[in-house]
Symmetry: C2
Subunit: 99 residues, 2 copies
């Protein structure tokens, strides 16, 4: 398995719009068997922050997902909303509830 | 829903032991309907790091889980293995695959 977590900071005032776009992308992942978790979080008191937590069957499966046309289109729509990314951690999921 | 993510740093050389203990706790959460996700992660190249990612139906449900005897016993066993906690973020899960 392969895990990736991180935080997007939206352009000021664009947090809701970015979160909605990422949530749409996260829900589109439901049909990909190689995507095990793709959860979007908001941070109380930080309206421009959007957290993403992903678990995939492998890093190759994750990389392949970035290459499909639908994902590329979503990334293109999201880019103008994003001021920065931080707290990015690649990890090895060890298990637990949800996996 | 209520989300909590964070990083434990184990005492030097105790990462595997701490991860195993947290994984046992994470698997015990499978029988709690109020616990939606409880995933343990390891970080390549950082053997003393253990990541935890939790989603609960409510903050009250999470707080109640800390109060049961089994959890208290696990915390007592884990405490000597832990050097520190960091990157703690409470968040509002917005949805996505896995929720």
């Amino acid at each position: 398995m392969y895990g990736l977590q991180g935080r997007f900071t939206a352009q000021p005032g664009k947090g809701d719009e970015l979160a909605a776009l990422l949530l749409e992308a996260a829900n589109a992942m439901r049909r990909l068997d190689d995507c095990l978790l793709y959860v979007i979080g908001r941070v109380p008191g930080e309206p421009d922050a959007v957290l993403v937590y992903e678990v995939w069957t492998s890093s190759e499966a994750h990389a392949a997902s970035l290459d499909n046309e639908e994902t590329k289109a979503a990334i293109a729509r999201g880019r103008p909303l994003i001021a920065g990314m931080s707290d990015r951690v690649e990890f090895e999921p060890a298990g637990g509830k949800g996996l």
